[in-house]
Amino acid sequence: MSFDRAALPWRVGILGDGADPAAQLIEEQPERSDHIFYLVSDPARDAEMVDELIVLSQGHALAHLPALQALNIPCQILLRRHGGHGSAADWAAGLDMLAAALARSAAPHLTLAALTPAATEALRPQFPALRAWPDLRPVYDDVPRFPVDRNEAQSTFSIEFNDLRESRRIERDALHWARLRCLAQLIARDPQDVDMQDLVALANGTRLPRPELRPEDRPLRWLAVVPNGVGLGHITRMMALATALKQHRKADVIFWCFSRAAEILQAAGFQIVLRQTAQHLKAHPPAWRDWESAEFARAIQHIKPDVVSYDGAVIDPFVFRGLRHPGCGRTAFVWVLRGMMRPDADPAFLENAQYCDLILEPGDFAVSVDRGATRTRQPYLRGFSSKITTQPVAFSRTQSKFSRREAKKRMQLGWGKHCLVSLGGAFGDWDAIEAEIIAEAKAHGVTLIWAQSPLAPPPRDSDTPVRRLFPLSRYLAGIDGVITATGYNSFHELMLEYTGPVMFAPTNHIRMDDQVARAQFAADQGWASIVLADQQSEMKGQIAAFMAEVQAGQTYETRPDQSLDGAEFARHISAICQRYAVVQPEWTT
């Protein structure tokens, strides 16, 4: 089979700082929308990997001039006006130096460009062959005004949400400029910084009125980042959301998965890119992060997702670095951030809200007892983010259920009462509870079944049958009672799908949600009973009472029933994607 280079995307090497707005705006040139961008550090070595090289400033050109002159691929040197580093006199000296150096030895493959027509006019006397960069793709005009200043670490701006005008702030380099130009009309604050004025003029480009939102038929591309969290909550929530999007937006979902439970995703038929954390690899975290950022950026450029999502409280910076990489600028970011944080958890993670388009809080039945940071603070008041709270998200809602007979058969359970124990997760102080459960089950003639989790150790009692039940909801009809930890997923799955007795055994791990509050809430509502690992004196009685309920076949009919409205969720995501939609000329007429 012959190799057809022309069939591959055009590869553009960028020599310079990837955080430079100029680097991020290249992809907004209409003819470059299908190009793939690489950050290059050694033009002599890396030229083999790219079809074209763009040098972001005269400073970078001077640093690598002999190597650039020796290239055998097209190389564009972008000349910048003053405003970045150093004085105006030094800037002028730098241009003089480059002009004189280029005059010394002609290199036809080297071309010169400036950011804007104004910059081109200003610099052309010294560089007659200078060309202005082409206009960028048009963007919509109904966006707030946003000040940018190289000397300010944060920008403060005003934005209207739901007819309310709010003051927002965001770190200077939080967003990719291709994203930023879609979100705001930029204003250069420092009149001395001519380069920034050029960047702003380029970024603002042509602005057109936004048409009425039309139903989007195009399949959505969704890249879901799943961390290696505690329990299966991250995975199951994302599976639930992905399933809803598949159903309502024909979404193509790919998981960027660090979780040890990736097999669940694979079994459910999702595409996954299995990743390793620095901890898994025992790698130096900054070095790992560099590689992961580059790999993530490469994946975004190839997959071209409309949305990148992340489920979890603590987002590794590689995600944002990847999203700021040249070529990754037309991707919305959705942070799936459940509530019920422990009240003593450090709220610093909420700063990440500034990178988001949407913070999606999966609803929690126990929200009225939520005292965590997501409730007491307003994380969405950062950057351009908005927030929605859905009804509880449970993967079980999308799954068909087995009949009691089928479930028992599949679980290989005989006659009698069976209680599922799922103390899951990799964390928990279960020794005392486990011992009491085994004792009381025996005492009440209840057979225990242990839920196998890729993240949990097996039971200490080797006689206890272990079953792999994912998703659990499909098997619930065959089970007479459940003792479980109170993670988001288990809690909502059971409350939504199960009518039998449930006993919650909440964990109190610092990284996890406020399971005690959630379990207590359920107990207070009369939906379930509760056993606490640190109240050993009451444990025996509580478990005995629960086992009695299991044996008696008690049912609970008052449990809540509201869950994610997939269509509405898909509409929210579509609206977010509209922020970065390519302006369609016919819509503007």
Binding site: G16, D17, A19, S41, D42, R45, S57, Q58, G59, H60, L62, A63, H64, L65, P66, Q69, G84, H85, G86, S87, A89, D90, A93, G94, D96, M97, L98, A99, A100, A101, A103, R104, S105, P286, P317
Partner: protein, 784 residues
Amino acid sequence: MDQGNLLHHFAQVRRQVTALCHKERFSAAHVLLTGSGLSAEDAPGLWEYVARQAALAGHDDLAHRVRETLWQAGLLSDPLALDEGAYYLEAEDAEACIYVLESHFGALPTQPEALEYLTRAHMLAASRRTSGGKLRTSRATALRLTQNIELNSPAHAIAAVDLLRFADEIDRSVALNAQARATFPDDIRFTMRDARIAEQKGAPDTALRLWREVADTSERYRSDALFKLLSLSLKREDSAAAGALAAELACLELPLDARLQLALLTGQEDMALAVSQYVSENAGNSDAVSYAEGKAVGDLLLQAGYFGLVLWLRRQRVTLSERAKAVLDASRFGEELGLPLPANFQEAAALRSPACMLPLRDFMHLPERPAGWPAPRQTAGRILLVNSSLKAGGAERQFVALVRALLDAGLPKSQIDVALFNLDADRARDHFLPDLMALDVSIHNLSQLQIANPHLPQRIARVVGALPAGLQQDARQLWHLCQDLRPDVIHGWQDRSAAAAGLVAELSGTERVVLSMRNMAPHTRQDRGLTLFKPLLQSWARLPNVTLTANAGPAAADYEAWLGCDAGTVDVLRNAVNIDNFAPIFEQIKRRKPHQGPLRVGGVFRLATNKRPLLWLETLAALRDTHGLQIAPQIYGDGPLRDQIIAHAAQLGFKDLMITTGASDPRALYGDLDILLLMSRVEGLPNVLLEAQACGLPVAACDVGGVREAVQTRGDASALVMDADISATEAADALAAWLPAARAADPQPRHGFVRTHFAPETLAQACLKAYTGTAHPLHRRSTA
């Protein structure tokens, strides 16, 4: 063992040793010899044989070990002593080399190679002693080792020339270098020595010519020569030449450290960061970044104050010099009381010294001073006045005037110490030294300060070690002096000295600090080298014991704008003119009849871009051509544009332009002038305007800096103040309109203006108030 057996044993050992050496098994031969019982005393020839054979085969360390045994036995032969000297020289252990050679051959060897090695070793020792400062060699040693010498090799000749050169024996070094050029005519390095000597002697034109010759003829030393040419062109403010040279260098395949140096020299921060980023991202690839390049890049970045980048390179596993590592270790990055670790290259690049160490008290974890500290004092206490040099400049003249004014105000001589960073005669840094010596105060030449213990305490070294190179050297020397003198007040004069003085005062806990700037702010002067002082001055402007001053209202306002401080942060401490010095010449000018010949127009200024000497000439040409005046221009001063001025003057028809250098006597400067003209682009409070008016001369100048404050503007004797951006034609028109009345006017108002407004007593009183903390902050701008 009897004699026969001994001989047999010896023969056997010798045979075996010879055989082993023949097979190049020198270690085995050494072991055999050691185990044979034949000591160096018993069989020196065998030991020597092993040493020689091992050295010949390149086994230097083994040869050295064998020679050491012979040395300890006192049996080292001349050739082996030479080998041992060469070994230490190669290992750059200059002290050991000198010890071995002088012990064996005496302090002045007759053996030519021994003399060569000894000369080179002394030069090496001197260069290692400098630790970044100025290289100095012992005059006695230099003279001893170079008297009537036969030049043994180019390396010997170079070392000998340098020994003399750095002992300030310039003429002898020139002569020896000429001898070397004749002996080794094809060795370009002697041309390079000539060029360096020319630089040292202040002959930049010759230096430029010679470096150009090197650049054009030597491929190997081309980039070195181009860097020298670039550096000289920048000093001469010849931006066109500098740009062309920089471009030439930019096109060359330079090592990474040289490319970084090019960026730093030319102020190309983007380029410097790009080179650093390359080093950072290719740290593990020895093909891309060699061990030596990595170390050199780290050192250059440290010298330039890119503190965070040096740390970043270390984290990227770039090999750094021991000094760089020590500085980083002392800074305690990432520790509880240290600086935070940068998360990426951009954050690291923003971590610059000295800014990242400010406020210094926080960085050093010093307790806060109580509110109100320091309390006003009755007397100033011991005062240390610090300036860069005593070269022939207005600020230096004012510095001496300050000392005189303080003494005249009643301060005892014993209470005043004067520290100067450089008093080199060969660079004319000592122009006003006789005037200062005449005042009989203690003068400390910091470049030759004898320091008993050169080490700094750890907490001081932590700060000083992290400073950019120039400031570090200044602060180090001044700190040692301050520990000896324990002054109550440190007064730094001009930006560079002010930065060092402020730093040392804060490090030493000095009670009062006065920092006097004597020109417009660096951003107006476009002085890149001074911009790093900005965060320091910003930090000190907030301290209650620090007084910042400038010598004119506009200069103070310019500094305030540069520093982003409130108006009134920088006091005005105007110049002082001792009017009595000008009384005789004033009387003479007052009495003289109008000069009938060509109009004698004087210009007293440094021949540099900011003084706009070409505009000065063009204005006079326009005055002559448009208004029919005969002009006799006279320039007093020196500087990088001298040749350009002479050429331009010739073009304009001023073939007899007189340029006088080194004059400072008022009579010589102003006695034969009709008017004084200044066309500067930037000025603080120009001293020459005050002095010319003190002599009664009409003065004309452009409206820049503190010019308006420096001139008398009433009546016919008023000065002419022209627009800052005036053209030559417009200036000529203005001069032509102003001249008749100005020349005819009574000069008394000019003289009186200077007497009234620039009295030394005013300067002294303002300083004493600042020294004692009794200046009322609301009246800070009215100290003159």
